[in-house]
């Protein structure tokens, strides 16, 4: 049976799926990236390998997405490397063909994707600042001495959410400390934080965009029921969180690899190969580009980061031989 592998590797977590021709998920996993995408992908591959019947399932397409898509793409010899906006939209559309709006809040990114008749018509992403993303929530949870996984449940118990200024993480933090010292209840502060994430998101990322339902909410923060509820209060309609919401990017890029013309033959053996990355400073000019070289078993397989052809190490090496 032919199958397709999709890997979505983000700043915080790494997601992978194996699907069949009908987009059914044969195997999936969700693990922490822990700042080491190479190791995370190896762990992911071992887990996926154990879940599928290797004699029967033959992986002929590989897609990668997420912020380390390029690195992982060369490691896996991917047939498709695609940005996460497109991947998320394709994945979500395969399960919810009539979706109009996707809210996505991840570890460092937040984005909104608008869809009309099954095609992406507009999107927006947070600009420089990571206020109101998962990283913000987990740092605040730590400050309050609450596990971030319990955040949502606690928020739901609040009767009167406190107002927290969330435009900037630094100010939110001092506002939060101040409110706590004033004697506001912990659950009210937590609910206030959830509300502020939502209003921050709608004002910054979603500003000026017309939001139509059905709305799907995904990304790590969608697991927080407090934020989901805050979204519903704010937009005045139901917000859907799929149990596989975290896999949408991986699913989307697996589907893209299914639709692509180039095919491969993948057997998970890369999990046993040795991969290494190395930063090299190019001294070709005063830009001093930092070039990333990826090697497999001590052989360079890819490089990037160069602004001009002087630093195009991989092609230089190829022409050398």
């Amino acid at each position: 049976m032919n199958a397709y592998l999709g890997v979505d590797i983000g700043s915080i977590s790494t997601k992978g799926v194996v699907i069949d021709e009908e987009n059914n998920i044969l195997a999936s996993d969700y693990i922490w990236t822990k700042g080491n995408p190479i190791d995370a992908v190896k762990r992911l591959m071992n887990s996926l390998k154990d879940q599928v019947d290797n004699d029967r399932v033959k992986i002929i397409g590989i897609g990668t997405t997420g912020s380390a898509r390029k690195l992982i793409g060369s490691m896996l010899n991917a047939t498709v490397v695609k940005n996460e906006i497109t991947a998320h939209a394709i994945g979500t559309l395969s399960l919810y063909p009539d979706v109009r709006t996707i809210f996505e809040i991840g570890g460092q990114d937040s984005k909104i994707i608008l869809i009309e008749d099954g095609i992406v018509t507009d999107y927006a992403m947070n600009t420089l600042c990571a206020a109101g993303t998962g990283a913000f929530l987990s740092s605040q949870a730590e400050r309050l001495g609450v596990a971030v996984e319990d955040f949502g449940k606690i928020a739901l118990t609040s009767q009167k959410p406190t107002k927290i200024a969330a435009r900037c993480t630094v100010f939110a933090e001092s506002d939060l400390v101040h409110k706590a010292q004033m004697g506001y209840k912990k659950e009210d502060i937590i609910a206030g934080l959830c509300n502020s994430v939502v209003s921050n998101y709608l004002n910054n990322v979603g500003k000026g965009k017309k939001i139509y339902s059905p709305i799907i909410f995904q990304g790590g923060v969608s697991k927080n029921v407090g934020v989901k509820k805050a979204f519903e209060n704010e937009v005045g309609t139901e917000v859907i969180v799929d149990k596989n919401g975290h896999l949408m990017g991986a699913l989307g890029v697996a589907i893209l690899s299914k639709n692509a013309t180039n095919k491969t033959n993948f057997d998970f053996s890369m999990a046993d190969e040795e991969f290494e990355t190395k930063g090299v400073e190019c001294n070709g000019c005063s830009n001093h580009c930092e070039i990333i070289c990826v090697s497999k078993n001590h052989q360079m397989i890819d490089s990037w980061g160069n602004r001009c052809s002087k630093g195009d190490l991989i092609n230089k090496k190829k022409s050398h031989y």
Partner: protein, 304 residues
């Protein structure tokens, strides 16, 4: 008097006045020394010489001035406040001369334009010529000739682009922003490179034919008084029906843009994204945004 070397920093207003400046000094027989395209060394020198809160374009500018220090007799740093009645330029351009004079121990050559106070560009150039030891007539002549060649070259470029705008079969994206952001190697050029790699025809908001700025801006804003931002807003409105998408480029943190970007984003009804560029080195986030933007435009086109 012969062979005075005038250093021109390749940053900020250079991208608006390059022809005028170069032609003026060359007509007077001076040698023009240009700083190179922005590179990492220049950026780092600039950061060291700037206030933390300065915008990226200003930091880059200071690096270019520093580069020119030991390579010329004078560095040209104009002081521009008002080019059109009831309008203003960003305070950075008003303060540019004083700022550089205070930071660098160097002969700075300047000219002042403040129309509301009667200081025209022509007067400024004559005073500048005199300071270099030329007569009023020589300076005026050089200015007039430089003005002519500026106009001629701008018209030629605008015409070429407008023909391509009408005839190309490729996807068309307008890069909108201040020229010093659009054409800088560290800001707009890296965005242009990604677009050209994807076989997209790129247009710029400062290149246009017959644009009536006041007419275009009338329905959008009556109170905006930043000359460069008015031009940008009007050019975007003019290009909107002619291109497939718009990328709005801002250098962080820009005061006037923070106001006018809001106006633009709310008034444009074709795909548009705002990319804010700071001094950080990594362009991963940037490429993700541009790639998905191209995907969206291509998908839209396919379904039209």
């Amino acid at each position: 008097m012969n062979n005075i070397k005038i250093g021109i920093p390749k940053a900020l207003l250079y991208y608006k006045y390059s022809i005028l400046w170069t032609a003026f000094f060359e007509k007077l027989g001076c040698t023009v020394v240009l700083s190179p395209d922005t590179n990492k060394d220049i950026l780092e020198m600039g950061i060291r010489k700037s206030l933390d809160e300065s915008c990226l374009a200003m930091k880059i500018y200071m690096g270019h001035v520093e580069y020119l220090m030991d390579k010329c007799d004078y560095v040209l740093v104009p002081r521009l406040k008002c080019l059109k009645k009831k309008e203003q330029l960003c305070t950075n351009f008003q303060a540019l001369y004083d700022l550089t004079q205070n930071v660098f121990d160097k002969q700075i050559l300047t000219y002042n334009v403040d129309l509301e106070k009667g200081f025209t560009e022509e007067k400024g150039f004559i005073a500048m010529g005199k300071r270099l030891g030329f007569s009023k007539v020589q300076a005026l002549n050089a200015y007039n000739l430089a003005k002519l060649s500026e106009e001629k070259q701008k018209k030629k470029k605008a015409k070429e682009r407008s023909v391509i705008l009408k005839t190309t079969k490729k996807l068309k994206i307008l890069l909108a922003g201040h020229p010093y952001n659009l054409y800088d190697d560290f800001i707009g050029k890296q965005i242009e490179a990604v677009l050209k790699n994807s076989d997209i025809e790129v247009f710029y908001s400062d290149v246009y034919q017959a644009l009536d700025i006041d007419k275009e801006i009338e329905p959008i804003s009556k109170s905006n008084y930043w000359t460069f931002n008015k031009e940008m807003i009007a050019s975007i409105a003019y290009h909107e029906p002619l291109v497939d998408g718009i990328i709005l480029i801002t250098s962080f943190p820009c005061g006037p843009d923070s106001l006018s970007n809001e106006m633009i984003l709310r008034n444009v009804h074709i795909p548009i994204i705002n990319l804010i560029i700071d001094e950080s080195d990594s362009n991963t986030g940037l490429i993700t945004r541009i790639e998905s933007f191209i995907d969206i435009i291509e998908e839209r086109k396919k379904h039209e």
